[in-house]
Amino acid sequence: MNQRAAIFETSSIAVLLLVGMSVSTLQIDSTGVMSVAALLTVFFVTSHFQTLRGLASRYVSRISWSTASTSNTTES
């Protein structure tokens, strides 16, 4: 995965969310911008699904390893 492209993609979703939130505070209809942000999020998740799943499983295994090592230390 091109990391810079992935950062750009997440940033663009963040920018759209920011624009959406800003316009709604100005009492301007933000439905369109928020819908586009949601669409881009769906695109992002589907196109990077494998990478995101890999990241999530690595994170989960790190948490379970850390929990296990903490309980081992307590028992000993």
């Binding site: 750009f8 920018v15 100005l26 209809d29 695109f43």
Partner: protein, 311 residues
């Protein structure tokens, strides 16, 4: 969400193609509609120039020209450094985003006229001005390393392509004829404008739905770029519009022009100037993402933000 009636035709075309309805829109009719829209917009602007030309026009035109020069220079490094595009592909896409879409402009005009907002009537002059510089910058970006180019062929394509020729031709005829002498042809060009624009948008809906499938092929980056770049262009357009003293409606139109990406004049010019560039990338971005984004979300958003800014 505030949607103009002509935009509903775009949605009809898009939904029909998604549902695989057998709508056969003749290619010849589309070409005729483009010809009509270019002439109608040019004529209207020319007649306005004949009546309202102001001394501010030259500095305003120069400021508008700068948008066409700056936008490709912003887009190019993003495409190369972030998207990992080759120089030719990046230059071609950047040129599309520096130039303008006559269809998006027509929708913005329809949006303003339906809400009764005033805008500078000579605006088509700015549309014509914005068609050209991005093509030149795109060619320069692609050939900076001393690659030989066919200058004569490119110049011919830049200045004599259908978009520029008909728009500038219409402007000159309208400017020369004025309102009185144009009265005999205006029932066609003004009276049928909205209906023809609706037909054009129906076709664009069909095309946009066709091109959506190509997005998967080109990756998610191009979809994000095609949404973020219009926001950058609109901000630059709105800033310049405010700085050169345009009316609220004029600023909305300049923001829309900055946000739009070409799909008529620039593809033809780029095919000659940078034949090695992948044209499908630019067309997918501008037609499948940027055009629908501007028509459905962008124009009402730019109008609301400019209205808030002008108080």
């Amino acid at each position: 969400m505030q949607i103009d009636i002509v935009v509903a035709f775009f949605m009809l075309g898009f939904i029909a193609r998604v549902l695989k309805a057998p709508i056969d829109f003749p290619e010849g009719l589309y070409k005729g509609i483009i010809l009509f829209l270019l002439l109608a917009i040019g004529l209207k602007g020319g007649i306005a120039l004949n009546e309202y030309s102001t001394p501010n026009l030259i500095p305003q035109s120069l400021a508008v020209l700068s948008i066409g020069l700056i936008l490709p220079l912003i887009a190019f490094p993003i495409l190369v450094k972030v998207g990992g595009f080759g120089r030719d592909d990046a230059a071609s896409v950047a040129a599309h985003y520096g130039s303008v879409s006559i269809g998006t402009y027509a929708v913005a005009v329809s949006f303003l006229e339906s809400s009764g907002a005033y805008y500078e009537p000579y605006f088509p002059l700015f549309v014509a001005i914005l068609e050209i510089p991005a093509i030149a910058v795109g060619v320069w970006l692609a050939t900076r390393d001393g690659v030989a180019i066919q200058t004569k062929k490119i110049l011919r394509e830049v200045f004599l392509n259908q978009g520029v020729l008909l728009l500038v031709g219409g402007l000159l005829i309208g400017w020369w004829a004025g309102e009185a002498r144009s009265a005999s042809v205006m029932p066609l060009f003004a009276g049928m404008f909205q209906g023809t624009l609706a037909l054009f948008l129906l076709y664009m809906g069909l095309v946009a739905a066709d091109k959506i499938s190509l997005l998967r092929q080109h990756g998610n980056f191009i979809a994000s770029f095609a949404v973020v770049m219009p926001l950058v262009g609109a901000s630059l357009g709105a800033l310049v519009g405010h700085y050169i003293g345009l009316s609220q409606g004029g600023t909305v139109l300049l923001a829309t022009l900055g946000a739009s990406a070409s799909y008529i004049a620039v593809p033809a010019a780029m095919a000659v100037a940078i034949p090695t560039a992948n044209q499908s990338l630019s067309i997918t971005a501008s037609l499948a993402v940027t055009f629908p984004f501007n028509v459905l979300v962008g124009i009402p958003l730019y109008a609301a933000l400019v209205a808030w800014f002008y108080g």
